[in-house]
Symmetry: C3
Subunit: 342 residues, 3 copies
């Protein structure tokens, strides 16, 4: 693609360089080869701008960086949000493979299932009774959809994921491979004869534009629903326990887990390997640092860290001192001796 | 269902209300609508009883709660174990979808496999050589059963789980979607040329009524067996390393993991995201708190917490003081200055 | 197999026992029955040698242990590395089931895919457009291989794993069941309208002899590659974030996770449930203890532990003192009172 066409497509406010320059692809600034477009976000990138082989860069409104690029003969495009513009440039050069909009003859589809227009159903995918599939849904091979599930328009199901009974999935969602939506919550009543299984008559709701990574599990509850709000995104191996309610615009990183009945507000960020205990409430805009274990409700906008999780400012101080515990212990002994308190 | 019929079916000792009242379903007390049955466990529920829209409640032997419900005109059923009775009521109103007891024509079943009576085999399920399937087994689609595995009567295999070679699964078990039973243990011998793979010639045994959540992994060992005792239940994403032995009636919550050769007694509770190191022994009735890392054997009935895990009473004290480390550090400096010890 | 033949096959330097002794299998020393071969590694095993029912043992060059076995009438084979020789003996007696080298008629293979010689493709496996499969590759049922992926000679894919688009897998690799190679990295740009998805145009490279356990996830990056070096092995449920680079001969235990862009050197050992933060570098030969959370680069050969991870020597001291925090706190109060500092 010509540089001039790219500038236009990305609606750049400012740019510099030869409009006829041919841009063939996208790369990271460190490993870019001639003919590629990359990006730089801040002054931290100046050394990389001097060393890069990229032919063009997306740059912030930063005169020093822009001059540096110009001096190197590197074409540039100005953006208020270089990383966002880089993502938009990726869309120009790359689209992931999609299954063709046809029903593969080996798919097994119950006659009571309703399929919308332009649906792709991959080989060996199984769609059970009374399932409703929206328009433009794309399903890779070996997916299993249990009875009465609903899949909204344009939602994408990757190979080998499972949508269990009565799950309600919105429009424009992505469920990646190996994830299980709507499995039974872990509900048992202890009795003298052993565990009495509590049937999970509830269901899972994923609102529009929810994206679920690979090998996640989102459980349905005994009664009621487990709900993920619109525009919420999960990384791989995230577990959502039965009866959780998650707001919109949240993100959960890899291997994070919510126990049962957790209530998560809007725009909450949960980092990797976090655990949140039963029925805890994470308020709007709060953040949980990686590997924290949360037993108490957070305040709106609060960042919590550690196990048990405390306010991040307290955590920072305590964890810094943790390394000094041996020194503190020795000091205490010395003082006790000094004072004759032993 | 008429309230009177429900009272009879649940074998209630006491009840109050119009026997002709029609109960249409089950709900949580907070979100119940008219015509539903819910439950309350203790005095903590009194505000909820006053606010609920439920038409009937399961209540403990608690005169105050029962009077409260009566005063609200809410029918009630007395139970010594309200949550258990609630689970029994769920059984009345709801049963999960089950695959029909037939062999789907797209299933691929080796001619040497033996299937019992009334077996359901879902679409595209593959059953390899010399597998033995008991009576009433129900298998969802896209399951793969490797050679020589055995599946006991009435066991339920959800879509896309894998039972690897020679696994022995008892009666009335549940293996949920995406779980892998009998995969190779992580056994390699370090050599100067790299890792030498130790073949895993052992196998996995799940005794009767074991339930495995979604996306779990239960590995077979180099020699001997990995065994889960009867009535033991696992949540999602639980990992059981090669050669572990788990007793009966245990429970492991989401993302908990046992390394190799761990020995777990009977009725042991392991909370979420716990890790247990190689060859540790968890004695009968012990409990491991969430996110703990256990390196030492527990005593019978002991609760351990933290990383490294210690007795819960010690953990509580130490973790409470963790937040005060900065204050302690400042105090120490002050004392040293005061004493001229710097 | 006759003991004499086994001695020859294992190329033992020394041995003792009746060459006609029939060895029928392999067992752990604790649970061995007559006719089996087991091993002992060190003096710690002397009691077990006295109690074992094994008919033959692999022993180190240790006169005391060898005399003990001889006195018990137990045949023995000497080895400088008994556990390695035990692994080699396992190869003699046991090989895991392999799918037959044929294309199952229910497999769905795109006409543009290229398959090598002697390839096994299991039932219902799906191979998409432009996939290249080497000689001797063995694929169990219900595997899905996305477009343009490459699978090297003799690589083994277990049932229900998924190889997503453009992944490049080397020779003699093993991908176990439920693992997802080449799924989209977790890349989104926050905007006022929500998360803008950054397409993941990169791909995953697994070099030769990489082994991946069950239910792992290895993500592809936005640009460039995610690479695992030759002879690197992963246990179950390991997560590798987008853009990570891992050297050769590394091992990662169950539920360990690398965030994005982590750089791991050669022969690095990462224990179970570890988390490594974005862009951290783990140098050659370093070790991360179980459940650690690593935020800072390690030095070559260093062992780090804890959260936040510190040098293991510091961790050992601090974690030992952790249990004494309540005592330290009381002592501090006592000193303050003594000095009138309250």
């Amino acid at each position: 693609m010509r540089f001039a066409a790219l500038v236009e497509q990305l609606q750049a406010s400012q740019s510099w360089g030869d409009g006829d320059l041919e841009i063939q692809g996208i790369a990271a600034i460190d490993s870019a080869s001639p003919g590629t477009l990359s990006y730089a976000d801040s002054d931290r990138f100046s050394a990389q701008i001097q060393a890069t082989q990229a032919s063009a860069l997306i740059l912030p409104k930063n005169a020093a960086l822009q001059q540096l690029a110009t001096a190197q003969g590197i074409a540039w495009i100005e953006s208020a949000y270089p990383r966002l513009t880089f993502a938009q440039a990726l869309d120009v050069f790359y689209q992931p493979h999609q299954p063709a909009a046809q029903i593969h003859p080996t798919a097994v589809i119950d006659p009571t299932a309703k399929l919308g227009a332009n649906v792709a159903v991959g080989a060996h995918t199984v769609i059970a009774a009374n399932v409703v599939i929206g328009d433009g849904v794309a399903i890779w091979p070996n997916v299993v959809i249990y009875p009465e599930a609903q899949i909204g328009d344009r939602t994408l199901l990757h190979a080998n994921c499972v949508i269990q009974e009565r799950s309600q999935i919105g429009t424009d969602c992505v469920i990646n491979s190996g994830s299980i939506v709507g499995g039974e919550g872990f509900g048992y009543v202890p009795t003298e004869q052993g565990w009495y299984k509590m049937q999970q008559s509830g269901y899972v709701v994923l609102e529009d534009r929810v994206e679920i990574g690979c090998n996640c599990t989102i459980d349905r509850p005994a009664v009621g629903e487990t709900r993920l709000g619109h525009d919420t995104i999960l990384d791989n191996m995230v577990h959502i326990g039965h009866g959780c309610t998650i707001g919109f615009g949240c993100a959960m990183a890899s291997q994070a887990a919510l126990a049962g009945g957790v209530v998560v507000g809007n725009r909450v960020i949960i980092a990797g390997q976090v655990g949140v205990a039963n029925n805890v409430k994470l308020r709007d805009g709060s953040t949980v640092s990686s590997r924290s274990g949360v037993h108490h409700d957070t305040k709106p906008g609060q960042t919590v860290s550690g196990y048990p999780a405390v306010d991040h400012s307290i955590y920072l101080k305590s964890s810094a001192i943790y390394k000094r515990l041996p020194e503190m212990y020795q000091t205490l002994r010395r003082i006790k001796r000094h004072l004759g308190l032993d």
